[in-house]
């Protein structure tokens, strides 16, 4: 019991210490607290509302929800690994703790926190929603607790057994890109709904019928059943949890004595010099060369580009198939512009990924011009990939929606939107810079405490781009497709002006810019 108290205290201390002295961080924590409380209350309310639904639908829904919770607990900590100090067993390995005590402590630490508490409350909502007789109420409490323990232990088991892999650079690189798969998977139900796949109630029943026999399904069923079957189910899952916990302890004691797998460093190919063939030797060529390498090698860039493409593809499916009888002729234009916007938004915080290495540029830049050249190089590298990509999107959407005549206007408008986006993005990069953490996860793209800046930057860039695209979007909406011929020139103008303005602002506040992108993550 003292171990439990000790670790719970340690975790609370860590949480409190994290907040000390930093207003932004404190605001961020309050925000998290409000969201978590809101979600807990909403979840509890929705779950308890199920009482009013027909019994079979209610139990199907809870079965699905419990399974979903378990999956979320398995995936989310993996994507956010390292967010929590008490969860890394390596930090505790030097203390004379028996593995058993360590496991109890780690379990306590993982359940102490805002999100686990919110989760527990939502799970209890199911008890209110489902329990129909005295047995249900009596069995419900242990069932909820066992379901909660199942979530926590499974999540610990997975992170612990993968922790040595996660500590290598390659492992983290792979995981960063894998985060995207989750985003795509999250879109899957949406796509299925859009295609009008059967009736939702029938689908739910089919899904619940399968999930009913999974451990979380059994827990949901136990609450609804409230009889001997329910009791047997709880005992079975509790034993399963103990088994998983035993596996976890085994994995933990192995992880503590296994050294980090050092990454076998591979050599990279020597530069081919392709860029130098069409650019004059100088800083511009240097930046373009470096930037193209970064897009290829840096996982955060890969994630950015992949998600830009994925979002465009997902949108094409939903926009292209919603209106029966074919999409309007404007759809290819809209989609190509959205693609351009998604690509350009990555440049909305151009220095964020450089992060603390930005000093290397800062000690070199003696004038505004040098910074302008840096931005130009980044934009050129971006455009080298984006321009052909936008043409591909225009061709694909043009053919897909049955408006091949729209391919040319779509491509031209997309190019214009890209130029606009780069211009606006270079201004937001210097006005609202923020640190992009090394390990991206699905929730924050900024260092602790800088979420507000990141949000403001993205909103500002989107609003700026939307406003500036009006001059050619409005005529296009009225069917004046010839306007698209002017769009690339308009975009180029915006890029040049935005870049000049950004260089002027950015050079004057280089030390502040450097500090903003060098926050610890």
């Amino acid at each position: 019991m003292s171990t439990v108290a000790l670790f719970a205290q340690l975790k609370l201390r860590l949480l409190a210490g994290n907040l000390r002295g930093d207003l932004q961080r404190r605001l961020g924590f309050i925000f998290t607290l409000v969201i978590a409380t809101g979600l807990a209350a909403l979840g509890f309310f929705l779950m308890s509302l199920l009482r009013l639904a027909p019994a079979d639908i209610a139990s199907s829904l809870v079965i699905t929800a419990f399974s979903f919770f378990l999956i979320a607990w398995m995936i989310v900590p993996l994507l956010a690994f390292g967010l929590d100090d008490t969860l890394d067993p390596a930090k505790l390995s030097l203390f004379p703790l028996r593995t058993r005590r360590l496991a109890v402590g780690m379990f306590t630490a993982s359940v102490t926190g805002v999100w686990p508490l919110a989760m527990l409350i939502v799970t209890f909502g199911a008890l209110v929603g489902l329990a129909s007789n005295l047995g249900g109420w009596l069995l419900g409490v242990p069932a909820v607790l066992v379901q909660f323990a199942l979530c926590v232990v499974t999540s610990r088991l997975i992170t612990t057994s993968l922790s040595s892999a996660l500590r290598t650079r390659r492992g983290r690189d792979v995981l960063a890109v894998a985060a995207l798969l989750v985003v795509v998977l999250a879109q899957l139900p949406n796509l299925l709904m859009n295609t009008g796949f059967g009736d939702p109630a029938g689908m739910l029943r089919q899904m619940a019928a399968v999930l009913r026999w999974t451990p979380p399904g059994m827990m949901a069923h136990a609450i609804a059943d409230g009889g001997l079957v329910g009791l047997a189910e709880i005992v079975f899952v509790a034993l399963l949890v103990i088994g998983l916990a035993w596996l976890w302890i085994k994995a933990l004691s192995r992880a503590l004595v296994t050294p980090d797998v050092s990454t076998q460093a591979a050599s990279v190919r020597r530069e081919s010099g392709l860029i130098d063939r069409f650019l004059p030797d100088g800083p511009l060529a240097a930046v373009v060369t470096k930037e193209l390498k970064y897009i290829r090698r840096e996982p955060r860039f890969r994630v950015g580009w992949f998600s830009a493409i994925v979002v465009t593809v997902v949108l094409s499916f939903s926009l292209g198939s919603t209106s029966e009888g074919g999409a309007g002729p404007g759809v290819p234009i809209v989609l190509t512009c959205v693609g351009a916007l998604m690509i350009a938004l990555q440049s909305g915080n151009a220095f964020g990924i450089d992060g603390r290495s930005l000093w290397m540029n800062a000690v070199t830049f003696g004038s505004e011009r040098a910074l302008a050249v840096d931005l130009a190089g980044r934009h050129l590298a971006n455009a080298l990939i984006a321009l052909p990509l936008l043409v591909a999107i225009a061709v694909a959407t043009g053919l897909f929606t049955g408006h091949p005549a729209m391919i040319l206007p779509a491509a031209l408008t997309g190019w214009g939107a890209l130029g606009l986006g780069l211009g606006v993005g270079s201004v937001t990069s210097v006005v609202l810079p923020y640190t992009v953490p090394e390990r991206m996860n699905a929730f924050t793209g900024a260092a602790p405490g800088q979420g507000g800046q990141a949000f403001a930057s993205a909103m500002g860039a989107t609003a700026g781009i939307a406003l500036l695209t009006l001059p050619f979007v409005v005529p296009l909406l009225f069917g004046l497709f010839w306007v698209s011929v002017a769009a690339p020139f308009y975009g180029l103008l915006a890029e040049v002006l935005g870049r000049r303005l950004a260089a002027r602002i950015g050079f004057a506040r280089m030390p502040e810019l450097l500090a903003a992108v060098s926050k610890p993550t």
């Binding site: 650079r169 990454t263 460093a265 591979a266 050599s267 990279v268 190919r269 020597r270 530069e271 130098d276 030797d281 100088g282 800083p283 060529a285 240097a286 930046v287 060369t289 470096k290 390498k293 970064y294 090698r297 840096e298 450089d354 992060g355 603390r356 290495s357 000093w359 290397m360 540029n361 800062a362 000690v363 070199t364 830049f365 003696g366 004038s367 840096d374 280089m510 030390p511 502040e512 450097l514 500090a515 060098s518």
Partner: protein, 259 residues
């Protein structure tokens, strides 16, 4: 001859805490200068302000007679920097990092390639030249960082803790390169708290404590007949005073303790 570095009342505060409280640092050209001080004395903050990476709240800094904040073009062409923390462009290989750095400064590509090749050979990094910096060890990072700082042949070199976490072999390489560099009349300023090293390498020492310069001058003047370590401890007010009271349990055998 002008001083390589001269600051007047350089000042920086973070919230309530004053990190650097009016520093007048002087380093004559051509010297191998050590900036020493306990942790938190303000060494890194001072160096960051002189190299233009951190905006001072007050005071001025000059490098080779040029004002750091008014004449950045002249200053930045003259200085080479190796900050603490070793953050480099991690997804470039060592060679690519040097090429990028040199070309960003406008040096023609063939020249950069030649210089980079020679620096990599001298730093013993030729085998690792085509591996990504992210996979480098601490010593390799310090060496590639120094190579990048030297690439444009600066006249003043600022190094923040260049020997921390570096193995003796790499440290030896680093000192050899630096000694050759100062022998030709260039200036090196490095911060450290390894007194033996400073004593061995430097001919000029500035001692910082709690945001102030407490002593500054040629090495022999500062140590005044003592070892530098003794002089340093007296200057920063931490002279060894025999055993402290308390800590009597430390070193006592467990068996006795339990009796």
């Amino acid at each position: 001859m002008t001083d390589a570095v001269r600051t007047h009342g350089l000042f920086k505060r973070y919230g309530q805490q004053i990190a650097v409280a009016g520093v007048d640092l002087v380093v004559p050209a051509g010297s191998f200068a050590g900036l020493v001080g306990p942790n938190g004395a303000g060494k890194t903050t001072t160096l960051s302000m002189i190299t233009g990476l951190l905006r001072p709240d007050g005071g001025a800094a000059e490098v080779d007679g040029f004002h750091v904040w008014r004449d950045p073009v002249e200053v930045k062409a003259r200085i080479g920097v190796l900050p603490e923390g070793l953050r480099l462009f991690e997804r470039l290989s060592g060679r690519e990092l040097l090429l990028y750095n040199g070309r960003l400064r406008g040096i023609p590509k063939p020249d950069v390639e030649q210089r980079a090749g020679e620096l990599l050979a001298v730093m013993d990094l030729a085998d690792a030249a085509d591996k990504l910096v992210v996979d480098y060890s601490t010593g390799m990072r310090k060496k590639i960082g120094l190579a990048a700082a030297l690439l444009h042949n600066p006249s003043v070199l600022f190094l923040d803790e260049p020997f921390e976490g570096v193995d003796p072999v790499s440290a030896n390489t680093l000192t050899e390169v630096l000694q050759r560099y100062t022998a030709s009349g260039s200036t090196v300023i490095f911060s450290s708290h390894v007194m033996d090293l400073v004593e061995r390498l430097c001919d000029w020492v500035s001692v910082m404590s709690a945001g102030h310069i407490v002593a500054q001058g040629p090495l022999d003047d500062v140590r005044g007949g003592r070892t530098l370590n003794q002089a340093f401890l007296e200057l920063v007010g931490r002279a060894p005073n025999g055993g402290e009271a308390g800590l009597t349990w430390l070193g006592v055998q467990r068996a006795e303790e339990q009796q």
